[in-house]
């Protein structure tokens, strides 16, 4: 409402880009490739939240901590390309499970008819 227009793109396109970017971040988590990691500690040192990303690489687990901002700092700083952003399996699993549950409900509903 009012004020300066800082972006000349049409409103709907801007929103859709923002949504896509946010969706990508929401759906993604930091995933290590343990075989590359030499436990140097750069990732944990630069994490703004103080997550021990290095320990995740040792244990070969993705960063599931909800505090993770997916800011990408650890990924960018790692000198060995150990870390990447990859699709969050938690949400994928939820969607699959929900679909399965939905199908089961439909089936049950069908039986009663």
């Amino acid at each position: 409402m009012g004020g300066k227009s800082v972006n000349r793109m049409p409103m709907n396109k801007r929103l859709s880009e923002e949504t896509t970017k946010r969706q990508a971040i929401i759906e993604a988590q930091v995933v290590p490739d343990t075989s590359r990691c030499v436990q140097c500690g750069i990732c944990s040192y630069y994490c703004p939240i103080g997550i021990d990303v290095r320990r995740h690489a040792w244990l070969d687990i993705p960063v599931l901590d909800s505090h993770c901002l997916t800011c990408g700092e650890c990924i960018a700083r790692c000198p060995r390309s150990v870390l990447r952003l990859d699709k969050n399996i938690l949400f994928t699993a939820s969607i699959e499970v929900m679909n399965k549950l939905h199908d089961k409900d439909l089936q049950k509903a069908g039986e009663n008819v």
Binding site: D33, Q39, C40, G41, I42, Y45, R84, D86
Partner: protein
């Protein structure tokens, strides 16, 4: 009470302890190490030297981790091993009995026989103590000369340069790390070093380190040139610390000889990590490497076997990711290259002899600016690869090499000129994963 004894505080020793504890919750585990610092990331020293991380960050384990693993840690040096008595004698006079022993004492920098090597200001980069030395000299000095090859030589070069010293890097040969990199790759690295202000001297051999008042004042080359400097870094190779095993009568060659179960010539003694020379069944010979990943996996396998399992160490494909002149570089499989490098003798840190097997292979390459991809293409699978700069395809290529994926559908396209190799591989990878039902396009670039 079953006694496990681990000599060494590196990733091999620590991984062995983790494996033993997984199988044996109650056995007694003792870890003996002569380094005050204990377990830390040796590869991280390079980043500590450039100032990217503080010293505290080098330690992956806290004291609580060792408590949780229920390990008795001893800071001591081993004097000798008595295999028949199942006993280890320490330098301080104590004796430790064991049922099963792991020797994971690593390797140390090869010494140069050049006169003046004992002067104050001659440094190497083996351990944290060396890193402290380097920082101490870098604070007070202005010019450094670095001699050697491989990754460690560049770590020394970068350490000095990042602290503001003028750096002269001596290459005895015509290019850098010639037994792993090809000409183009050597030149990419050398060009970047020169851009950082490092002076590279080709075909230059260090003949003497000249001193004044017990300190380094300059160096003399074999060609008779004198270069004034205050500090000299040496990285000409490493040697496994096999002495203790040799004295104990265990079989050693270049390192401590072990079979695929990491077992030495004594049934109750194992060896893992940089000190071990592991028999590779696929190559039919023992191989030395100095890599963190294999050290960890060897240690883990040795630990499992010490605790009663009979698991062979699966070598996989020799693989390392490192940073050369600021460029992330992945080396996978057999990349060929000369057997010897003029600047080093034997193995260097971050190196694998597995890379030097000369495959009967063609080369497919792609160059974009400083992004370099070299593939070694065998008859129907990729045998090796080197990626410098952009690492997007490195996981895909590693998989293709490791799993010996049949690349016949794209082999011709790869080797012919005119097809962008990176696109060919990327498309092939996408197809394979689509066939597997894997959603690989979920991988998001940051």
């Amino acid at each position: 009470m079953y006694k496990y004894l681990v000599i060494g505080a590196g990733p091999a020793g620590v991984s062995a302890i983790e494996a033993i504890r997984k199988l044996d919750p109650s056995g007694e585990i003792t870890q003996v190490a002569d380094e005050d610092a204990g377990y830390y990331s040796r590869p991280g020293l390079a980043y500590y030297l450039t100032g990217e991380i503080p010293e505290d960050s080098l330690y992956p384990f806290a004291d609580t981790d060792f408590v949780r693993l229920n390990v008795c840690q001893e800071k001591a040096r081993v004097k000798r091993i008595l295999p028949l008595e199942h006993r280890v004698d320490l330098h301080d006079g104590r004796q430790l009995a064991y049922n099963r022993l792991l020797i994971a004492v690593g390797a140390s920098a090869s010494a140069t026989r050049v006169p003046g090597v004992d002067l104050e200001g001659v440094v190497k980069l083996d351990n944290l103590e060396d890193a402290h030395c380097i920082l101490k000299f870098a604070r007070k000095r202005r010019t450094a000369v670095v001699v050697g090859g491989g990754i460690t030589a560049l770590e020394l070069v970068e350490a000095f340069r990042s602290r503001g010293l003028g750096v002269h890097y001596f290459l005895r040969g015509d290019r850098y790390w010639s037994n792993v990199l090809d000409e183009t790759e050597s030149h990419i690295v050398e060009r970047r070093l020169k851009e950082e202000g490092i002076q590279i001297h080709y075909q230059t051999e260090l003949a003497e380190i000249v001193g004044k008042g017990g300190k380094v004042a300059g160096v003399m080359t074999a060609g008779g040139d004198k270069i004034p400097c205050d500090v000299v870094g040496i990285a000409i190779g490493i040697q496994p610390r096999k002495g203790i095993a040799e004295s104990a009568g265990l079989k050693t060659e270049r390192g401590i000889s072990v079979n695929e179960y990491l077992n030495t010539s004594d049934p109750d003694i194992f060896a893992a990590g940089d000190v071990a020379e592991v028999f590779d069944p696929t190559l039919g010979k023992p191989i030395l490497d100095s890599l963190w990943g294999p050290a960890r996996r060897q240690g883990y396998t040795a630990g499992l076997n010490m605790a009663g399992k009979n698991v062979p160490y699966y070598k996989g494909v020799p693989f390392n990711v490192t940073r050369l002149a600021g460029l992330t570089t992945t080396i996978i499989g057999a990349v060929g290259g000369r057997q010897d490098d003029a600047d080093t003798v034997g193995i260097v840190r971050g190196d694998s002899e597995g890379w030097r097997q000369m495959p009967d292979a063609l080369v497919a390459q792609a160059d974009f600016d400083i992004n370099r991809l070299r593939l070694l293409v065998g008859e129907n699978h990729l045998v090796g690869a080197l990626l410098m700069g952009d690492q997007t395809l490195s996981r895909a290529i590693h998989h293709l090499v490791f799993k010996k994926v049949d690349i016949s559908p794209i082999r011709d396209k790869l080797v012919e000129k005119g097809h962008p190799v990176t696109d060919v591989i990327a498309d092939f990878w996408a197809k394979i994963n689509a066939a597997d039902g894997k959603d690989n396009h979920a991988a998001i670039q940051s």
